[in-house]
Symmetry: C2
Subunit: 264 residues, 2 copies
């Protein structure tokens, strides 16, 4: 993905955006293409999916969850500034857990447990869609290879996360008999974690991307990250709504295909 | 993709396959999931696509072409054995060209030129599907990170390429008025290049993967590479057959949507 930095002719010759314009450019990417706009999520939150389709979503999305602490560790491993490392490490702890805190990945597995999926199968990622794997691994690579401020900017989709998490919690609890408070714990916790993370990351990016070239690379990073999320939805839709399940990937058990949400 | 090596419990405890069984296991992956089985290619070769859909294929597939010399350079950069580097470098030259030889990427651009696509737009990859970008960059990362013999094994989809190239050349020349010999030059050249490459790579893998664990990792690498190719077809199908074009990606000009193959 290193070609990300080409294709913006003459950006270096332009004056930097003001902070307000820079932040507006970042937020405009979310308004245009954050995955809350994807039809898959409208179906998921609206109770239109059967249990097998919700299972497919949960086990694929596990790949993303499991990549997050790796990308955060890859980031920390490049940072010379101890204060920045000390700030960033809570993301690693939030996901992997530490001491008595089980962490976000364990909460995600409570969701896949609740959906009746075998935990070892989920963790192996063996039946996830290849498109999901490629997208999330591209995210890890991006964070490992891009300039630090651009790597930070790629986390800024969290600015848009509380809205989709709120919709998801209420929509899924309301619409699916097989979803309860316990399995939605991951999203409830993220409602407080994500704003803390995105506030820090936004302030960092606004302060550290100084040239127009750097600013535009940061906006491109948010676009890149939206693509990482959108691709996962497209792959789920193509496989489990339109019925084109790729060779060797998860096929829901027949009995799960007749357990629908209440609004289906 | 480093988790590729987990999930094969106890493989190290099993006896190695014979050469014949190992080769059969590699070839079975192609029989099961090489992208000649994907519906997109049946439509493409059968003249069922309009010109805009063929353009979408060509400009997305450019991303793959353009990644090939980078993955080969990443491979060569890890090899201590000068003889192996000297053998492998012809792949780099085949694609990038050298001296009077223009190379495969230039021949691919003759195809996109012939389809009326702006060359700078194609090269920028700015309008390619994100799923395509993620898949091909995951391939580059795989070759950079996996054990050498596993990286070599990931090239073995070339064993299955002559058949699809032969089908493509005859099918596309026969079925599309906007396709001629000149624009199909890439595939004609690959008919002789791919067997040379795959003969060498197969012999290397059969000789250098000695434990069952290594052999199975090589078979998984062929599976991984088939997924890289399959994902590109799925993404094209979802976007340009089913009409779910992701934000910010290529949208064919209206006039290209009414230029069909002869069999459409």
């Amino acid at each position: 993905m290193n070609e990300m930095l080409i294709n913006r002719p003459n950006a270096a010759l332009l004056a930097p955006w003001s902070r307000a314009d820079f932040e507006a450019a970042i937020r405009a990417v979310g308004a245009e293409r954050y995955h809350d706009k994807h039809p898959w999520h409208h179906l998921l939150h609206g109770g239109k999916l059967n249990m097998g389709q919700v299972q497919a979503w949960a086990l694929n999305r596990f790949c993303y969850q499991s990549a997050v602490p790796r990308k955060d560790a890859a980031f920390i491993g490049r940072v010379l500034d101890r204060e920045l490392r000390r700030e960033w490490v809570h993301r690693l702890l939030d996901h992997d857990g530490y001491g008595d805190e089980v962490g976000g990945i364990e909460r995600w597995l409570a969701l896949t447990d609740g959906l009746g999926l075998d935990r070892e199968m989920v963790i192996s990622m063996r039946y996830a869609l290849p498109a999901t794997r490629f997208a999330v691994e591209s995210y890890v690579t991006f964070v490992r290879e891009q300039p630090l401020v651009v790597a930070v900017a790629s986390s800024l989709t969290e600015l848009f996360a509380p809205k989709i998490h709120t919709e998801r919690i209420s929509g899924m609890l309301e619409n699916y008999d097989f979803i309860d408070d316990g399995v939605m714990a991951y999203f409830k916790r993220r409602l407080t974690q994500a704003p803390r993370d995105s506030d820090f990351a936004l302030a960092y990016v606004l302060a550290h991307a100084r040239t127009r070239d750097e600013q535009e690379a940061c906006v491109d990073a948010v676009r890149f990250k939206c693509n990482v999320l959108w691709v996962q939805c497209d792959a789920l839709y193509h496989a489990y709504i339109n019925g084109n399940v790729p060779p060797g990937t998860f096929r829901p058990a027949p009995e799960t295909l007749t357990i629908f949400g209440r609004s289906a």
